[in-house]
């Protein structure tokens, strides 16, 4: 871990975008590579692409250069894998979605809603003593938001893991 601009970032974190021929055997094989070779998955998201016949899987993982190279090569070796892109070296957009259910009695409610506004998150459900909030952003932003609302008491939390795409515009301005 290193500290950059006040945020903690994992220096060896990599985001891999994998396009596969859509089938569950392919997903199993991908996960199998990680479990059998001792690599780690920090998050994985799998978008079904039954219609197009292809699915995009976004995996965030970590490791030194040699490990990441092996992961990339091993993924490539899977017959159903069409492309593997390590987005880490490119400029890319990355988003994660989290749904957070927070304890919010009438005293705390407005403060939580203020925080929600600052993070451009959305309240999606409300009850006399709870709020459910939807937030999207990169992992740092979501971590920061969760950090801010934790003192109020998080009841339930669901996170998707990252999805990412390479940024098209690469020219200098």
């Amino acid at each position: 871990m290193s500290t950059q601009n006040g945020t903690q970032t994992k220096s060896d974190k990599h985001t891999l975008s994998v396009v596969v021929k859509y089938n569950l055997n392919a997903l199993s094989r991908i996960i199998g590579i990680f479990s059998s070779k001792g690599f780690e998955i920090d998050s994985i998201s799998f978008g079904s692409g039954k219609e197009s016949g292809q699915a995009r899987i976004t995996i965030t993982t970590h490791g030194d250069e040699q490990i990441i190279e092996q992961i990339t090569k091993q993924l490539h070796k899977i017959i159903d894998v069409v492309t593997v892109t390590d987005l880490t070296y490119d400029s890319f957009v990355e988003r994660e979605l989290a749904l957070v259910k927070v304890k919010a009695d009438s005293a705390a409610r407005s403060e939580i809603m203020q925080i929600t506004q600052v993070f451009r998150a959305k309240v999606i459900d409300i009850s006399p003593d709870r709020l459910a909030i939807e937030i999207t952003g990169n992992a740092d932003k979501i971590n920061a938001f969760i950090g801010m609302v934790r003192p109020f008491g998080i009841i339930e939390l669901a996170r998707t893991g990252s999805v990412a795409l390479k940024r098209e515009f690469e020219g200098d301005v």
Binding site: K21, N25, G32, Q70, K73, I79, D80, V82
Partner: protein
């Protein structure tokens, strides 16, 4: 040797696949596709889920079906067939236990990159997941040990899947592929096109090496003072033996091979240093340690080859040619990686290399050879195991296909048989599967009926699959089985002697071994026993003359002999133990 198809009824309906689309049952589509892919031999065992396929086989006449006695042995037989012929081995088994029994054979093939296509029956699609009778998730079970596997869910995909399976198994770095066939897929009707086209957009192995890398590699080799070629199984699988031999001879570069690479470079050539690694020759291991440029060709820096990684070839710059990019940089860092087909890359390097000046280097190697040659101890009253291998090498003129099990006899066979031809040493290198030898030898004999096949096995390994004697007798396979009978699990015993204070825990078979001669005779095989060198030579000569059934030779060898040189686990290659202390 009896043709496997002799057991079928004799109506000569030789069905050629029609060029136009026609409608057939799934079983019919499969058989037509197999014929179109030139499959001549299937190793199989019937059962409920594959009955429709066996019913189809009843009529067909240009595919020989060999009825094995156990699916594991069937998979090993197909593996032996593939290693000996270069063609993919084909297995057909039923669902559930039929599939699970193939697992060891598939894993063996996967570790050694052997092309196999295994067809397993499966319960009908509407029953999958219900814990139906003889149901097993064989696609899930074999996922980590196959190059790829399929569950056929639509009979219209069956032909294409079958063609893909053969393409994937045999191209790039070869490997086993499994196709799971639900019973209803075999029964229902679909179209057979006969079209040869296979297109898998996501699968495209690199064949040509990168020209800049080849140039750099050639320069590095030209400037080497102490070059060494380290050739692995890829030379055999990639059929690059002629290219390798031409290059090594033209530039007078020494060659050491791995266990899997034996036969990929003729051992009678002066450039050959024999095998390297844990039980490699002294001079091969010394050369690997001292060389300044190491050219790895279709090898994967396995731990049995490298010994302690820190001490592995510490002074050399390394060039690594491999068709599988995951092999490069996996265990050992290399200066020049070249992803490509060895058969295409080697001639390119050969052309560009200027023969390096290696006289001093050769002098050093010759000195090593003189200091510690491989020893073949001999004895009047007993059989020394090394002598047994040498005798087999002599009686077969080094022309046989030698198939081994795993352990001491395997290493002695690798050391003392003179291998001059590729596809002539078949052994489970990666997985180290005991029980592999005999059925694989049988498969090799089916694939190469014109070549002598000798299985050198141990009393332990042979008993793991000895039941296939029934198959070998039924099909009159003239296979020679030489049991190096030391009444113990030799390699386990050797390690217990050297590293566990001679505490021979459960490694002595003396009390439990059967009378191998009687055992073989009860199956209808010929069988002999020898207890000294003279008897051994007589038995070998008699055995070689028998051509209508398998021969089992029970050679009683010295039990306490140890296999040397030996690199102890954790030691570097040059820290070999050369003899009993």
């Amino acid at each position: 040797m009896k043709n496997a198809k002799a057991h079928k009824f004799d109506d000569e309906k030789n069905q050629q696949p029609a060029p136009t689309t026609k409608k057939l049952t799934g079983a019919g589509i499969l058989i037509n596709t197999l014929q179109d892919l030139d499959v001549d031999t299937i190793f199989g065992y019937p059962g409920g889920a594959v009955l429709p396929l066996y019913d189809e086989l009843y009529d067909k006449h240009d595919i020989n079906h060999v009825l094995i006695k156990h699916e594991q042995a069937g998979t090993h037989a197909a593996d032996g067939y593939a290693r000996a012929t270069g063609k993919p081995g084909v297995v057909v088994v039923t669902s559930g236990p039929g599939g699970t029994n193939t697992v060891t054979g598939i894993a063996t093939a996967a570790m050694d990159s052997i092309p196999l296509v295994v067809f397993t029956g499966q319960v009908p699609t509407d029953m999958i997941g219900n814990d139906a009778f003889q149901e097993a998730d064989i696609v899930g079970i074999t996922r980590p040990i196959t190059k790829h596997n399929y569950l056929v869910k639509d009979v219209e995909e069956l032909e294409q899947v079958t063609r893909e399976a053969f393409h994937v198994a045999t191209s790039g770095r070869p490997g086993p592929v499994l196709v799971d066939l639900p019973k209803d897929m075999l029964k229902s009707e679909g179209h057979y096109s006969g079209l040869h086209k296979v297109s898998i957009p996501s699968y495209n192995p690199t064949k040509e090496g990168h020209s800049t890398q080849i140039k750099k590699a050639s320069k590095m080799l030209s400037e080497a003072e102490k070059p060494l070629i380290y050739a692995g199984g890829g030379v055999v699988l990639g059929e690059a033996w002629d290219e390798l031999t031409a290059m090594a001879e033209r530039h007078n570069i020494p060659v050491t091979t791995t266990l899997m690479g034996l036969g990929g470079f003729p051992e009678s050539k002066p450039q050959s240093l024999g095998m390297l690694g844990m039980h490699g020759t002294y001079y091969a291991n010394m050369a690997t340690t001292e060389c300044d440029v190491l050219l790895a060709v279709g090898a994967r820096f396995d731990d049995r080859v490298t010994g302690n990684l820190e001490g592995f070839s510490p002074h050399s710059k390394k060039i690594h040619i491999d068709i599988d990019p995951t092999n490069i940089g996996k265990n050992v860092e290399v200066e020049i990686p070249i992803v490509g087909d060895v058969k295409q890359v080697l001639p390119e390097i050969d052309k560009q290399v200027e023969t390096p000046e290696t006289n001093d280097w050769w002098q050093t190697i010759e000195n090593w050879k003189e200091e510690h040659p491989l020893k073949v101890p001999k004895s009047e009253d007993t059989i020394k195991p090394q002598h047994m291998v040498e005798a087999i090498s002599e009686v077969t003129n080094g022309e046989a296909i030698v198939v081994t099990d795993v352990g001491q006899h395997q290493m002695w066979a690798a050391q003392h048989y003179t291998f001059n031809h590729p596809r002539s040493f078949l052994s489970s290198g990666g997985l180290g599967t005991m029980g592999y030898g005999f059925p694989a030898a049988m498969g090799a004999a089916f694939g190469c009926p014109d070549r002598p096949v000798v299985c050198i096995t141990g009393d332990g390994g042979f008993q793991m699959t000895a039941y296939e004697l029934a198959t070998a007798v039924e099909y009159e396979v003239p296979l020679k089985i030489a049991i190096m009978n030391n009444e113990c699990l030799g390699m386990v015993r050797q390690w217990q002697e050297l590293f566990y204070d001679e505490r021979y825990s459960h490694s002595i078979l003396k009390k439990s071994n059967p009378d191998f001669v009687k055992l073989a005779e009860s199956y209808g095989a010929a069988a002999f026993r020898a207890t000294n060198g003279k008897e051994m030579n007589e038995v070998l000569n008699r055995a070689m003359a028998i051509n209508d059934r398998p021969v089992v030779m029970d050679f009683r060898v010295e039990a306490m002999e140890n296999c040397y040189p030996m690199v102890p686990a954790g030691a570097a290659l040059n820290e070999m133990v050369l003899e009993d202390e």
